[in-house]
């Protein structure tokens, strides 16, 4: 059968953000896959260099719309370690509370998206309806549904009242009940299970060697979680378990995310019931001592890394963000191979891609002499036409 190349993206109904997947298919079977990034580069890292640390918190929040709290916490933790600040216990607990609520919200959202990609629109509507509950809880705590803006350098900005605590516990009970129902439904509805089980296989060794992170890695049977491996905030004193699955397919990723949501609900309960009293923040200096810091954080999608270099002024010299989605791309290509066309959206959605979070600049490293070089788009195009032997004026982007 003849091999044809089909372009999934940059604009495609299955993709919520622009990315180009070029899939080589034979009939309905995928033979090869290729990912092209760079449609949504926003220059956030460069922008961060011209803003003060306080302003940067809000800039980092806007890297992602769903794990906004992950990026601020990761950034703020780095700055705090540079300044040598000790965040009060209550502040840390509220920070973790928002973090876990965000995880619940993100996994609910993902379940809906996965159902929609599989054509199961009823499940999509129901999960997103119930997600409103956790969004409302976050709004009550922080004053906004998406960009919580609750972190500040040295603690959190808002305290938790007794009324809010009660509301959280109440909402959490509802979410728990609903998630139990979806667990039951998602693993017993035959048409949905037929779509997700055995699809997008990522064996344990491959997951390890391709550096997958987050639920994608855990669904391949590797219990890796930054909250356990390298505890930040106060995760070392909170009882919780790392959820894994051994089936290595999309169903495994569904199961891991559902289990994680249940675990997060337990953590939220623990945090609310054991909230220590005291201050919520300490005063932070405007200027940060010279130095470098790396901060790791377990975002809903996996490990999030921020690198901050400060030069003693009130503005960072360099901020580097490694969003979890970027780490999962190599694994996605592996998963796509030998699947069906019908599986593309599901496999791609199973890493919970947040495409514009992962858009970074292009740096070319010469392997012979280790020279690094930053390339412009025009230069990339020129090199590409040269390598492909294209004539001047012919289409650089063949698809």
């Amino acid at each position: 059968m003849k091999k044809i190349k089909i372009p999934i993206g940059p604009q495609h109904p299955a993709l919520k953000e622009p990315i180009s997947l070029r899939i080589t298919v034979e009939g309905e079977v995928i033979k090869d896959a290729d990912v092209r990034l760079g449609y949504n580069h926003r220059g956030i890292e460069k922008l961060a260099e011209s803003r003060t640390y306080v302003q940067n918190i809000y800039l980092m929040e806007r890297i992602c719309g769903i794990c906004s709290h992950s990026h601020t916490t990761c950034f703020v933790q780095g700055v705090e370690s540079l300044c040598g600040l000790e965040v009060p216990k209550r502040g840390l607990f509220i920070r973790m509370l928002v973090c876990e609520l965000e995880r619940i919200h993100s996994h609910y959202l993902w379940l809906g998206v996965a159902a929609h990609e599989a054509g199961f629109d009823s499940l999509f509507m129901y999960t997103w309806r119930d997600r409103e509950v956790v969004m409302d809880l976050l709004e009550i705590i922080s004053g906004n549904r998406v960009h919580y803006a609750i972190n500040t350098i040295g603690g959190v900005r808002r305290d938790l009242s007794e009324v809010q605590k009660e509301k959280i516990l109440e909402g959490i009970q509802f979410l728990k009940k609903r998630m139990e129902y979806y667990t039951n439904l998602g693993t017993t509805e035959p048409s949905f299970v037929a779509r997700v089980s055995g699809v997008g296989i990522l064996p344990k060794e491959k997951a390890m060697s391709l550096c997958a992170v987050g639920p994608t890695l855990r669904a391949s049977g590797i219990a890796s979680d930054i909250r356990k491996d390298d505890p930040y905030a106060a995760y070392d004193e909170i009882p919780f378990s790392v959820c894994t699955a051994t089936s290595c397919d999309v169903l495994g990723r569904v199961v891991v995310r559902i289990k994680e949501t249940m675990e997060s609900i337990k953590i939220v309960e623990y945090l609310v019931k054991n909230l220590p009293s005291g201050e919520i923040k300490v005063r932070a200096p405007r200027k940060v001592k010279e130095g470098e810091a790396v901060s790791r954080y377990e975002a809903p999608r996996g490990e999030n890394i921020h690198y901050i270099k400060s030069n003693g002024t009130d503005k960072p010299e360099r901020v580097k963000v490694r969003a979890p989605t970027l780490a999962n791309y190599p694994a996605t290509i592996e998963m796509l191979k030998s699947g069906f066309i019908a599986d593309i959206p599901l496999i791609f959605a199973a890493i919970d891609p947040c495409i514009c979070c992962a858009e970074r600049f292009v740096e070319v490293i010469d392997t012979k002499n280790e020279n690094t070089q930053v390339l412009t788009m025009a230069e990339i195009k020129k090199r590409y036409s040269k390598s492909q032997g294209l004539k001047k004026g012919s289409s650089v982007w063949p698809l």
């Binding site: 003060t52 004053g143 803006a149 035959p190």
Partner: protein, 133 residues
């Protein structure tokens, strides 16, 4: 795992006769929680023109112009089209002259309409002092 075909049907039929979860937005609205971060509003009588808000605003949405140095007359412009509603200005303000109201329906047909300007003199005490001079 046991498979049950049509496992969703009871839930679906149960909701057939229930009220839809949709809020018919422009006609009915949800309650806004107490500490909702809406749009920033200035209480001109409290402002001491320390410019902390201008310095901390991540979106550069606040501008303070000096209209006249002698009369201590100032003009603060809040660009709501640039505002990202983070409420950092409220936090930075030492005299609590800024606060967030619960307005969220900001859309208009022109960016200019979102610009709000406050023209004011320094607080009375300073104003009186300057007039005594």
């Amino acid at each position: 795992m046991k498979l049950r075909p049509g496992a969703f049907i009871p839930e679906l039929l149960k909701h057939l006769f229930k009220k839809p979860a949709t809020v018919m937005y422009p006609f009915e609205k949800l309650n806004i929680p107490k500490d909702f971060r809406g749009t920033p509003v200035l209480k001109p009588e409290l402002c001491i023109v320390c410019r902390a808000c201008v310095r901390d605003c991540p979106a550069f949405a606040i501008e303070i112009e000096t209209l006249s140095e002698e009369e201590k007359k100032y003009k603060m412009t809040i660009h709501n089209d640039r505002c990202i509603h983070c409420a950092q200005c409220v936090e930075s303000c030492p005299t609590k002259a800024l606060f967030m109201d619960d307005g969220y329906e900001l859309s208009t047909d022109s960016r200019r309409k979102l610009k709000i300007a406050y023209v004011y003199s320094r607080p009375k005490k300073t104003a009186q002092q300057s007039s005594e001079k």
